[in-house]
C-alpha cells in the first residue's frame, strides 16, 4: 500500500469517525457544487455545446469577429496599463507613508484617501471624470481652458481605473516596505552606499515580489471591471466585460455573452494562478531574529521628501476632489445648469429609491452572516482538518472570487433560470452570488489567523475531552471571530458596492442601489445617482468603522485589519 493511499484511507477513516466534520464537509461540498461548479458547467456547456454536440463553432464565431478580438486585446492592454500605473502609484504612496517620516496625521490623510475608492460604488470616479474632463469639463475647460478634450477612450478609462484600484497596490506594498528593517538599509549606508544606491540595490529588490503581486491584483481587477469602461471607454475602445454585458442585455444574445465571458475567463485564470502559486509563495522579506532598535529612517533624502509628499497629497487631493464633486452633484438642482442647493435628490432616493435601498440592505444583511459563517467554516476546514478533497475544496471555493463578475453573473443567469433550479427573480440568487464571490476574503483571513494560532490549542481542548464540534464552538470560533467579522464585513461592503455580476441578476422583485445608480445615470438623473453614491459611501464607511472598532476589542493573537483586507 502506498503512503498516499494510506493517507487517503486514514483521511476517510477520520472523516467518518467525526460526524460533525463529516456533515459539514458534505454540506459545504453540496453548496460549492450548486453555486460554483454548476453555473460554471452551464456556462461552459453554453459555450461548447450545440444541440448536444461539442463544438468550437460558437467560440470560433466570436473570435472571428474582429471587434471582439479587438475588445479582447483592449482588455488586456487596459489591464496591463492599470497594473503598471497603479502599482507605481501604490509604491510611491506606500514609500511615502513608510519611509518619509510622516506624522500620524499625514498618514491618516493618505490612508483615508486610499480607502475611499475601495469602498465606493462603481461609477463614482467615472461620473466625476465626465464632469471634470471633456469639452466643457470643470477642469479641462473651465480651469485650464482646453477645448475639444475628449473624455471617452483609453486614457480616461485608464486614469479612472488607476485611481480606483491603486489602493490595492498601496495596501499590498505598505506592509512589505514597512517590513524591511531600516537597519538593513543602515547597513548598506554604513558600507558606503548612496541613498539612491540603497534604494536601487536594497529596498527595491526586497519589494519586487510585492510589486509583482500588486501588479497581478490590479491586472485582475481591471480585467473584471465593467462599470468604468461602460461609462468612459466610449465606442472606440470596447473591452470584453462591457461587450459581454451589451451582448446580453442589448442584443439578447445569451450565447454570445457566454462565449465572450469565456474568452475573458482564460486570462483571468492565468493571472489568478500566477498570483497564487508563484508570487504569493515567495518570501518577501527575510526577517532573521528581532527587528533592531528603531533607527531614524535615512533612505529618503531631505530634498526628496517634499516633492514625494507633494505628489501623494496631489493624488489624495484629486481623489478628495472627486468625492467633493460627487457630493456637490448630489446637493444641487442640476450640476452645470442650476447650482442652487437642494435636498431634493435625497428626498427622491428615500422615496422612489427606497425599495432599492431596502432591497440592497436586506440582501447585504442576509449575505453578511451567511458569508461570514461560510468563510470561517471553510477556512477552518481547509486550514485545520484532514479530509479527502481538502485542497480541491479550497480551490473550488476561490473560483467565483477569481473570475470577473461578468462571468459569474452570466453563469448564474444561465444556470438558475430554468428547472431544475429556478432562482431568477429571488433575492437568494443575489445573496448566493455575493456570498460565494466575496467570502473567499473571509476564508483567507480565517486561514491566515489560524496559521498564527498553534494547532495544539485545539488539541488541548480535545485532550480535555471536547469533541470537534465543541472545540470549534468554544475554542476555535472565539479565536477566529476577527476573521468572521472581517469576512462578513467584506461581503456586506461588496454587496453594497458591486455591480458586475449582479446586474444580470436583479429582477422586478429585488433590485440594488448600484443598478439604480447605473439606471439613474442613463436616465440622466445625475442628482439621484450622486445621492445614492454618497449614501453607499456613508453606509459602508460606517460599517467599516463599526467592524474595525469591534475587531480592536478582541484579545486574540493576530489582529485583523479591516482596511487591509479590502485590498485582497
Amino acid at each position: 500500500m502506498t503512503s498516499i493511499a494510506a493517507a487517503r484511507i486514514d483521511g476517510w477513516r477520520r472523516t467518518f469517525r467525526d460526524p460533525a466534520l463529516f456533515t459539514t464537509v458534505i454540506v459545504l461540498w453540496a453548496l460549492l457544487a450548486l453555486f460554483i461548479l454548476f453555473p460554471l458547467a452551464k456556462l461552459l456547456a453554453r459555450t461548447f455545446l450545440d444541440g448536444g454536440q461539442v463544438t468550437l463553432a460558437n467560440l470560433a464565431a466570436i473570435l472571428r469577429d474582429v471587434n471582439h478580438r479587438q475588445a479582447f486585446w483592449n482588455s488586456l492592454l487596459l489591464a496591463a496599463l492599470v497594473g503598471l500605473c497603479g502599482t507605481w502609484l501604490g509604491f510611491v504612496y506606500a514609500f511615502a507613508a513608510v519611509r518619509a517620516n510622516l506624522s500620524r496625521a499625514w498618514i491618516t490623510v493618505l490612508d483615508a484617501a486610499s480607502l475611499l475608492p475601495l469602498i465606493s460604488p462603481p461609477f463614482t470616479t467615472a461620473i466625476a471624470m465626465i464632469y471634470s474632463f471633456g469639452p466643457r469639463g470643470l477642469i479641462t475647460y473651465h480651469l485650464l481652458g482646453i477645448k475639444g478634450f475628449t473624455v471617452y477612450g483609453l486614457h480616461s478609462t485608464l486614469f479612472s481605473e488607476t485611481l480606483t484600484y491603486f489602493p490595492i497596490a498601496y495596501l499590498t506594498l505598505k506592509p512589505i516596505l514597512a517590513g524591511i528593517d531600516p537597519n538593513v538599509e543602515d547597513m548598506a549606508f554604513s558600507l558606503g552606499s548612496s541613498r539612491w544606491r540603497v534604494f536601487r540595490t536594497v529596498t527595491l529588490p526586497l519589494t519586487v515580489p510585492g510589486l509583482a503581486n500588486a501588479f497581478l491584483l490590479l491586472f485582475a481587477a481591471s480585467l473584471a471591471d465593467f462599470a468604468t469602461p461602460l461609462i468612459l471607454a466610449g465606442n472606440s475602445f470596447p473591452v470584453l466585460p462591457t461587450q459581454a454585458y451589451l451582448q446580453i442585455t442589448g442584443l439578447f444574445d445569451l450565447k454570445g455573452g457566454a462565449v465572450l465571458s469565456f474568452v475573458l475567463l482564460v486570462p483571468a485564470l492565468v493571472v489568478y494562478l500566477l498570483q497564487r502559486y508563484w508570487v504569493s509563495r515567495k518570501h518577501y522579506v527575510t526577517i532573521t531574529g528581532k527587528v533592531g532598535a528603531q533607527t531614524t529612517i535615512k533612505s529618503l533624502a531631505p530634498w526628496a521628501r517634499a516633492p514625494l509628499l507633494g505628489a501623494c497629497l496631489l493624488l489624495a487631493g484629486v481623489i478628495l476632489y472627486f468625492y467633493v464633486l460627487l457630493f456637490y452633484a448630489s446637493a444641487v438642482v442640476a450640476l452645470g445648469a442650476n447650482h442652487a442647493w437642494t435636498w431634493r435628490h435625497y428626498q427622491v432616493i428615500f422615496t422612489e429609491g427606497l425599495k432599492a435601498i431596502r432591497d440592497t440592505l436586506v440582501i447585504a444583511g442576509a449575505g453578511m452572516p451567511l458569508g461570514g459563517l461560510y468563510g470561517i467554516l471553510l477556512g477552518y476546514l481547509v486550514a485545520r482538518k484532514i479530509f479527502p478533497g481538502r485542497q480541491a475544496m479550497e480551490i473550488v471555493s476561490m473560483i467565483n472570487y477569481a473570475l470577473p463578475g461578468t462571468i459569474v453573473g452570466i453563469a448564474y443567469l444561465i444556470a438558475f433560470n430554468d428547472p431544475p433550479i429556478v432562482l431568477t427573480g429571488t433575492a437568494l440568487i443575489i445573496v448566493a452570488c455575493y456570498v460565494f464571490r466575496y467570502s473567499p476574503t473571509g476564508i483567507r483571513a480565517t486561514v491566515a489567523l489560524l496559521q498564527q494560532i498553534d494547532p495544539s490549542i485545539e488539541e488541548a481542548s480535545q485532550g480535555l475531552g471536547a469533541g470537534s464540534g465543541t472545540t470549534f464552538r468554544r475554542i476555535t470560533l472565539p479565536l477566529i471571530l476577527p476573521a468572521f467579522f472581517a469576512g462578513l464585513g467584506v461581503v456586506f461592503i461588496r454587496s453594497m458596492t458591486a455591480i458586475s455580476a449582479t446586474i444580470f441578476l436583479v429582477s422586478i422583485n429585488w433590485t440594488l442601489i448600484t443598478v439604480r445608480i447605473l439606471e439613474n445615470m442613463t436616465e440622466l438623473s445625475l442628482g439621484p445617482a450622486a445621492a445614492f453614491s454618497v449614501l453607499v459611501v456613508v453606509i459602508v464607511f460606517a460599517v467599516i468603522v463599526a467592524i474595525s472598532g469591534l475587531l480592536r476589542r478582541f484579545r486574540t493573537p493576530g489582529a485583523v485589519d479591516m482596511t487591509s483586507i479590502l485590498g485582497g
Binding site: 498516499i4 486514514d10 495544539s456 490549542i457 488541548a460 480535545q462 475531552g465 471536547a466 484579545r555
Partner: protein, 364 residues
Amino acid sequence: MSAVGIRLEGISKRFAHRVKGEVYAVRDVSLTVQPAELLTLLGPSGCGKTTTLRMIAGFEQPDAGRVFIGEQDVTGLMANQRNIGFVFQNYALFPHLSVFENVAYGLRVQRQPEQEIARAAGDVLALVGLQGYDRQFPNQLSGGEQQRVALARAIVIRPRVLLFDEPLSNLDAKLRVHMRGELRELQQRLHITAVYVTHDQEEAMAISDRIAVMHQGQIVQEGTAESLYRHPGSEFVAQFIGRTNLLSGRVRSASPGEIELEVAGQHLRLPGDAVRATAGQIVRLVVRPEVIELRPADSPDGIPGTIVSRTFLGEKAEYQVRVGEDLLQVTSYNPVQRGLFTVGQPVRLHFPAEGIQLLPGGPA
C-alpha cells in the same frame, strides 16, 4: 483511583515526505510504562518521541500496532475519549479564556455542576501555587505561571495518565531546573502514570524513573538513568547520555572473565563477561571524561598525549588531549589541589579498567 500503566504494542507511524517518499516517524515501537511510573522518551529532534507521545494521546493514529491504557485498547479512540492529561511545549492555553476558565474548561466539557467546577479548579490552582490568579489572562502571565496553568488544566480532569511534550523547553535555565523538581513532586504526589518527552538528557536523568532513548523512530535502549550511563548499548546512547570519548581497540585475547585489548599502543585488561569477543576483533570503547586520569609525562606508564586546550571551571577543569589522531576529553575534578596542566604539555593518560565499557560489534 489507582494508577494504570500504558502499553504500546508494535506501533508505527509513516508520513509522506516530499523528497524521500514514505518515511517512518515511528517504527515498530513497543513499550510498557508501569503504573505511577514516570517514563521519559529521550532523543534528538526528529527521533519520533513526540509522535509516539501524540499516538498515546490520540492526536495521531498509528498505522500499525495497538495502544493500551490500563487494560483498555484505546487505539481506535479519539483523544477526547481517552481521558488523558496533556501538557504542551507551548502550553497551548486558551488565549481568550481567563486562568480559571482555562482550568475549568475540561470540567465544563464533562458538564460538571458549577459548584464542583469552582471547587476542583480552585483546589488545583492552589496545588500549583496560583491562588488568586483566577481572573488573569494567559498573556498577563509569566512563562512559569503559564506552565503551571497548563499543568493545572491537565490534572484537574483527573486523567488516567499525564503526558508531557517538552513542557520546560520554553523556560529559562534556572526556572527549568526548579520546575522539573515541582513536576516530579506533583506526579509522585498524585501517584499518576506519566510519559515525558524531552531532548535534554540532564532533564531526563533528573526527573525519570526510567528513560527510553529513541533514535530514528525506534527505541534503542531503555532503563534507569544510571544503567543507561553505565551500560550504553550503542555509540548513539553513549554519546547522547552524558559526555563521552569513543575509542577503537583491538582484541588481543579473550578468555572467560577477561579481555585483553590494545588501545593506542597500550594494553588494557577488562572484565569480559558482558561482551563476547574474539582475538583480532576491533571493538569500540566508551571512556567517560571523568574516569581518565592525567599524569605527568614522566609517569611510568599510560598512554602518551599532549594537552590541546584547557577550560578551568573552578570545581573542575576540562582538557582536550591529543592522543595519536584522536582528541580526548578529560575532566579533572578538584583541579586546584591536583595540579593544573598547561596547554602544550605532554601528559600520560590512565584508563582505569572499571571505568571503561566495551560496545558490541565491530567498528562503526
